[in-house]
Amino acid sequence: MILKELSEAHGVSGNEGDVRSIVLDAVRDHVDGVRIDALGNLLTVKHGTDQDPMRVMLAAHMDEIGLMVVDHDDKGLLKVRAVGGIDARLLPGVRLAVGPDRIPGVIGIKPIHLVESDEMGKVTKVEKLMVDIGAKGKEEAQELAPLGTYATFATPYRELGPTVTGKAFDDRAGCAVLVELLRGDRFSFDLHGVFTVQEEVGLRGARVAAFAVDPDCAFALEGTIADDIPKEKDESPTTELGKGPAITVMDRSFIADRRLVRLLTGTAEELDIPYQIKQPGLGGTDAGVIHLAREGVPSATVAVPSRYIHSPAALLSLEDFDHTVRLMRESLSRLTRETLK
């Protein structure tokens, strides 16, 4: 399962090289063209069987949220800043892998014995946290983790039965879905499988990739919020684990093209593939910039529901993952120019 390899790879925004290598190895023999663009996006193309094929772009982002070293103190502790949407509530005490050599580190925390009652339960800002890599003094810290060094969660991928846990399912789940699609049979259209950079810091890679690909339509593949944990009130879980791929109708970044949403839901209903509509109005994906490229690109987003995204350990259902691959494959095999008429 490539999801394990992808989840354990390091690829905080701006530093996606390791993920790109894994993807490249996995798809190289199954595509007709491969290119890495100026920002680091991996653009692949798998030609279609039509004489005059459409151009369809599938995008999954390789980057994940993380931390960056910005300073070192005299004791050898590291100061860090967030890269992307890090939740400061989750950080104290968390284990990290720092830099390309994956130096083990821990985010320092005051022992409970010393915490005053009025400090209890308060969230420490990322700027106030210290990362300890065991360095003896400033110089050693600077040598081991120079300014600009990336750090990510040191979370192994584990199978828990039908579900799996690991870091960075947002969006390595989408990357894994795209890898599966590229490794399968050809479609009628030219499939432009694009693994993008820097989504978590502002959908940056996808913007330039979509300009280059100039597709007729596009799909963003994602790992999205599942908030199906017990709640006090009768309110939306956003998506639920085990209920199938989540289709976006509208989020903060775009409104999905209705024709593509109909293609997806119609295919799911025809083949009895479970699916769910993601709670509208939340989040944003690469589709937010892809649909505005050039003269506009009809776009949709399909995601594998994942609990605890943007945390050290997310959790998803492999059944949902498989259903997502199948829904995409079947929907794409039904996609023609007529779909967009």
Binding site: E235, M250, R258, G296
Partner: protein
């Protein structure tokens, strides 16, 4: 023009679900133009060939009005069949309570508010509101997650004032349709764009303008006024003429486009006002940044209670807006 305005404002078309309003506009515009197409995002683009094309006098002009309107979208159906919702575009909770919304199939829902709130004197948040479509349970609720709806109110004409939902920006669409009806030749290569998804971020105008690559662009949209009780200071009022935009929070109008509108208004003795809008912007802001940049301006129809279900404009401002744009189109720049 009243019947046209009524037809436009009473049509259904929240951002992203613009097929119905687009069909209404298409039927009006089709006999008036040389070519009509729908682009990838769904904007309707009408083309009128210039009678002076290829000469120094003709330019490629883009006129824009957005055809989408604000609305709401269902996010969750609770056990008892009440629908929670989010906004499509800028919707104020203050104008929601007691309002009715209509879904694409015409089904109507009533918006109300959670009674148990920590501080009931505070303006509620959108997630404290719900839509009641008359269902008794989640299972018999006829609407689904992801379904969009718009506010409903009948169109009313009272004296010279016109009142309705969705004046923003169906009144701009009306101005452009009426303009096409009256236009008897132009030296310019004219593209009239009825753009989608303005209310969620000026999205349709941006992609349409990329395709058209105009030499100049003018958006026709509504603007706020300062002529209501205890209003924030703003030198625009209803009935004093269409407003030529100087700046808003998203753009500074190109000085030459602004001057062109002022000159044509002066020459033809058409009343006008100057507009500085402190909050809000129009499609012109997106169009001016397309490709290598586009000189862009905006002609605004003054409108009270923008983004409420009862927006009010003055018929004379609408008429004078049409006249002013006609002056612009009939002469070389």
């Amino acid at each position: 023009m009243r019947e046209l305005i009524r037809k436009l404002v009473e049509s259904y078309g929240p951002s992203g679900t613009e097929e119905q309003i687009r069909d209404v506009i298409r039927a009006e515009v089709e006999p008036l133009v040389d070519d009509l197409r729908v682009d990838a995002m769904g904007s309707l683009i009408a083309h009128v060939e210039g009678n002076g094309s290829g000469t120094d006098e003709g330019h490629r002009l883009l006129l824009d009005a957005h055809l989408d309107e604000i609305g709401v979208m269902v996010t969750y159906i609770d056990e008892d069949g009440f629908a929670r919702f989010t906004s499509i575009g800028g919707v104020s909770p203050l104008t929601c309570i007691g309002s009715r919304v209509a879904f694409e199939d015409g089904r109507v829902g009533v918006i109300h508010v959670d009674q148990k709130r920590e501080d009931a004197s505070k303006v509620p948040k959108l997630d404290q509101l719900y839509i009641d479509v008359g269902a008794t349970s989640r299972d018999d609720c006829p609407v689904k997650i992801g379904e969009p709806a718009v506010f409903t109110r009948p169109f009313v004409a009272q004296g010279s004032r016109l009142i309705s939902k969705a004046m923003d920006d169906r009144i701009g669409c009306a101005v452009l349709i009426e303009l096409l009806r009256r236009l008897d030749g132009t030296p310019h290569d004219l593209y009239v764009v009825f753009a989608v998804q303005e209310e969620v971020g000026l999205r349709g105008a941006r992609t349409s303008a990329f395709g058209i690559e105009p030499d100049m662009a003018i958006a026709v949209d509504v603007t706020g006024t300062g002529d209501t009780p205890e209003a924030k200071p703003m030198a625009v009022k209803l009935g004093a003429g269409p407003a030529v935009k100087v700046k808003d929070s998203g753009m500074i109008a190109h000085p030459k486009v602004r001057q062109l509108l002022l000159d044509r208004a002066e020459e033809a003795d058409i009343p006008y006002q100057l507009e500085v809008l402190e909050r809000g912007t129009t499609d012109a802001a997106a169009v001016q940044l397309v490709r290598a940049g586009v000189p862009a301006g905006c002609l605004s129809i003054p409108c009270r209670y923008v983004h409420s279900p009862s927006e009010m404009v003055d018929e004379a401002d609408v008429e004078n807006g049409v006249r002013l744009l006609l002056e612009v189109l009939q002469k070389p720049l």
